[in-house]
Amino acid sequence: MSDSSETQAERRTFLGILLGGFSVALVAAFGWPVFRFLAPREQTGQDQQVRVPREQVPVGTAHFFSYQGRPAVLLQPAVGEFVALSAVCTHLGCIVKWDAAKGEFLCPCHGGQFSTAGQVLGGPPPKALEPYPVAVVDQELLIG
């Protein structure tokens, strides 16, 4: 290979690298905003605490609501005792139902059973329902 063709090959490689670098920079400059635009938006304080009127949760009944963007359930198993749990089954993400007759939660998808405290009683769920803190403030229940 002669000197001039070597120089030409080097120049071609250099320009190729330069063009590649420029293309990558261009894709990144446009790709990052696209990624941020599509990425799920952060929860900004809303739903951090949810208030539910106490009369909506009579003894032995369940009240379903949305907490931090996910389905949750409030329960009064005994007078004055309140429990807040995630309503999302830990097996495959279906929403549990409250079976008042049996006094337990039942997942309609694969028959998972949970106690009023969210503990697994039977079926395929690998772990308990996630509990949330509940406080009674005046006539309201404060979750979170």
């Binding site: 905003p33 696209v34 941020r36 635009f37 599509l38 990425a39 938006r41």
Partner: protein, 366 residues
């Protein structure tokens, strides 16, 4: 053996891609004196490509409902990360597309490239220009701002001047007697589905015509001679011309980046050129803002309607002008394309251009 070569070898053994690429890229010759104006078609396609991308992104958050549309656009602008960027790009790019379409048409007119055998290329291109305008009109309503609402009211109202069926035509376009939820629904469907599909089809036909006829030689320089076309089909060959790839594609890419630089400049430093104050208020069907005016590319039509005492006459003049332009290749049939040897055409061309700019400015300041 590097990966790129192996990939091409694999494809070549199955589809004969090397022969295809050679015929369509390196072996496809363009006239030696081709200039940057010929790259405007590529610029328009690149800008439309960008509109597809930003439009799809905006669709993710936009809600086509009269109660929610304005709030969804406000959310895109203020809350969604980089939402402002994609909306500004979409708005500014739509205006740049109209500029590029007009420049493309003006350059084709000046160089006489619309003449036989390229009548169909011209007709499809002229239809594409009008389609671009309808794209803008339908997209303009979607944010459901005061500007959107009233500009659409004024624009659709113009069709009422058509004799006999005028009122029905207006109601048909709006989906009711006034601009409302039905208008938003049909404009949305047109803007995001019907027009993009139609555009893809027509651009395909336009490119087919361009490729099938061959690129016309620029009518400049001492070597240029007018070509008299026969009744039989002939592809315009340029055996001594430059290869489409890489010689001309590099020039096209340079012009595309020049247009993108303008787009970025306006998007980052002057987006308000295309988003006036009335665009910041939600639509109120009971309160018309003062001095409502259409977008700059419709100002000529708006002012023409005002100049003539009869709205019908104004509309007829617009229709006649557009029809004349569309059918120009069938009227102007001489083979001569050199501007210096077409004094009547160049005079009409310049007068028409000045008239367009003058009436638009008059409309803007009236």
């Amino acid at each position: 053996m590097n990966l790129q070569k192996r990939a091409i070898d694999w494809l070549d053994s199955r589809l004969g891609v090397r022969e295809l690429l050679q015929a369509q890229l390196g072996g496809y010759r363009l006239p030696k004196n081709i200039n940057s104006w010929y790259a405007l078609g590529a610029v328009i396609m690149a800008l439309f490509g960008l509109q597809f991308v930003t439009g799809i992104l905006l669709l993710i958050y936009y809600v086509p409902d009269t109660e929610k549309a304005f709030a969804s656009v406000t959310m895109i602008m203020n809350e969604v990360p980089f939402g402002w960027l994609f909306r500004y790009l979409h708005v500014v790019c739509s205006n740049l597309i109209i500029v590029a379409l007009l420049l493309h048409m003006l350059s084709v007119l000046f160089m006489g490239s619309y003449k036989r055998p390229r009548e169909l290329t011209w007709l499809s291109g002229f239809t594409l220009l009008n389609m671009g305008l309808v794209f803008c009109l339908t997209g303009y309503l979607l944010p459901w701002s005061q500007l959107s609402f009233w500009a659409t009211t004024v624009a659709t109202d113009a069709a009422g001047a058509v004799p006999v069926v005028g009122d029905y035509l207006v109601a048909f376009m709006r989906g009711g007697p006034t601009v409302g939820a039905a208008t938003l629904g049909r404009f949305f469907a047109l803007h995001v589905l019907v027009l993009p599909l139609a555009l893809l089809g027509l651009v395909g036909f336009h490119l087919f015509c361009v490729r099938r006829n061959g690129i016309s030689q620029a009518p400049f320089g001492k070597d240029y001679r007018p070509v008299t076309h026969q009744d039989t089909f002939a592809h315009e060959e340029h055996p001594d011309g430059i290869p489409f790839y890489p010689n001309y594609t590099s020039k096209e890419i340079a012009v595309i980046f020049f247009a993108l630089a303008i787009l970025a400049g306006i998007t980052f430093f002057a987006p308000w050129l295309f988003i006036p104050l009335d665009a910041l208020e939600p639509a109120d069907p009971f309160s018309t803002p003062e001095h409502i005016k259409p977008e700059w590319y419709f100002l000529w039509a708006y002012q023409t309607l005002k100049i003539f005492p009869s709205k019908f006459f104004g509309l007829a003049v617009q229709g006649a002008a557009m029809t004349f332009l569309a059918l120009l290749p069938f009227v102007d049939r001489g083979p001569e394309r050199r501007p210096g040897r077409r004094p009547l055409f160049v005079t009409c061309y310049l007068l028409g251009l000045f008239l367009f700019i003058g009436i638009s400015l008059w409309g803007h300041y009236s």
